[in-house]
């Protein structure tokens, strides 16, 4: 019984990590159709920002306030990653909007450059970020121990999702974004500045990659390639969820997270990975456009 519950929790926890990593991608790839291979490096930037903020706190802030560094790091990571994303969009990606293969290669190159930059600045070995003390330990339910750090990531994923939902569905900016993504030319003809929408939307997607990077520091040490490990999973989540559907990404993340954990529990790590890939392939045969696909009379 306990083992089942623990597996379930692990599944949800992995799902929330995947969701957090994929949320930014759901915006840049799902909504904007940009294949941004440097997304993993934006995650890496978020992780290193957390590391830098931690070091600043170690050196300049009285010790009893040290734990606050993590709370500070989240918005800083968001802003820095968003800034890098904005730079990337306006200097490179905007010239490649209708050339997906070119943008795939170009952003991959950018990713490699960012990795090397991280190596140059922080050195090749991984660096550790010590979790704030309030995330040490865990919640004990019966004989189950649920680590606070995992619960925190789950909460963070939910908060980010809610934030993105509110932004896209409840604000004028979000409405503009949706209009542009549905019919760019007509939105422009009605007075929406599509350039501005592109830059801001890409920056937001990148910013959430930064937040994900921040959260990843809770799970282990970080290095220049920390993002690369997650990029495939992130793309998978978005594709399984349905490109363009935010809530598809939720279903995709928790679906993959859950089955991954179950398979790994039943077999071992590598066989589990193989099984999850097989499952995804089978799923995409059944629903090629993902969980949330839509049909409207828009083309009448």
């Amino acid at each position: 019984m306990n083992e089942i519950l623990l597996t379930l929790f692990n599944g949800i926890s992995l799902g929330s990590i995947l969701l957090l990593v994929a949320l930014g991608l759901a915006i840049t790839f799902g909504l904007m159709n940009v294949i941004n291979m440097a997304h993993g490096e934006l995650i890496m930037i978020g992780a290193y920002v957390t590391y830098v903020v931690q070091n600043i706190f170690v050196n300049y802030v009285p010790e009893q306030y040290f734990d606050i560094y993590f709370i500070v790091a989240i918005p800083v990571a968001l802003v820095v990653a968003a800034g890098v994303g904005m730079l990337l969009e306006s200097s490179l990606i905007r010239f490649l909007y209708h050339r997906p293969l070119d943008s795939l290669l170009a952003t991959w190159g950018v990713g490699l450059m960012l990795q090397q930059l991280a190596r140059t600045i922080f050195g090749a070995p991984n660096v550790g970020v010590s979790s704030p003390s309030f995330l040490d330990g865990g919640l004990t339910i019966g004989s189950l121990l649920l680590p606070y750090s995992r619960l925190f990531i789950l909460g963070l994923a939910v908060v980010c999702l809610a934030g993105i939902y509110i932004y896209f569905y409840r604000t004028a900016n979000g409405r503009r974004v949706r209009a542009v993504m549905q019919n760019r030319q007509m939105a422009e003809c009605l007075g929406v500045s599509t350039r501005k929408v592109d830059v801001i939307t890409f920056a937001i997607g990148s910013g959430f990659a930064g937040v994900a990077g921040c959260a990843l520091t809770l799970l282990g040490s970080i290095g220049p390639t920390v993002g690369t490990a997650y990029i495939i999973d992130a793309f998978m989540v978005v594709v399984v969820g349905g490109v363009g559907a935010l809530f598809g990404a939720v279903a995709g993340a928790f679906g993959i997270g859950f089955f991954n954990t179950v398979f790994e529990y039943a077999t071992n790590a590598s066989i589990g990975k193989v099984l999850i890939f097989l499952l995804i392939i089978a799923f995409l045969q059944w629903r090629p456009s993902g969980f949330v696909s839509s049909r409207t009379r828009s083309l009448d």
Partner: protein, 229 residues
Amino acid sequence: MLELESIKSGYGESMVIRDIDLKVKDKQVVCVMGRNGVGKTTLLKTIIGILHANKGKVVYNDKDLTKRRPSYRARQGIGYVPQGREIFPKLTVYENLLIGLEAGGSKQINEDVYTYFPIIKEFKKRNGGDLSGGQQQQLAIARALVSNPSFLLLDEPTEGIQPNIVQEIQDVIIDIKKNGQTSMILVEQDLEFVKNVADYVYVIDHGSIVYESAVDQLNDKAVYRYLSV
């Protein structure tokens, strides 16, 4: 108000419009007629800026718009109702109207559109893509009207639409003209309706203007010559 000076425009290498001069005076309704494929839609696309003129000038209220983006032109008060309606399918009807406000002529939705098209108020919360073709056309017109544009571009607003809605749309166009606040270029095939609403008529063939006349001096035969297949 709007002036086109020897406009040349088209898609890539293929020139659809060669050398068109056209003038719309303040509060005037100008109809553009012609067979399918002679360049009427291309002309409107060049005015709103989806297509850039290869040669010539688009001047609006003494401002040269030739190199400007469509969003800038929209904010100058040009409303555009494209052929094929181009509703945002997954925005609600109301959100579609709100995007219409981006042109910035007014902060609030002009309530007149609900009087013109009661169906839009009724279907406020539905997705634009779930509306029928005729309803989408009404929404497209309403979306262009919400920001009180000083100039309207209407591309065959009654094409392929059921007769009772055609009547409704024509009544609205006549009403807008009567209000006398808005200039208009209307692409239209129905000569009877054109005579009803237009002040001036241009007929296009093979990308050039082949006939033009004030509506009261219109020679039906000349027009029909260019309209019949």
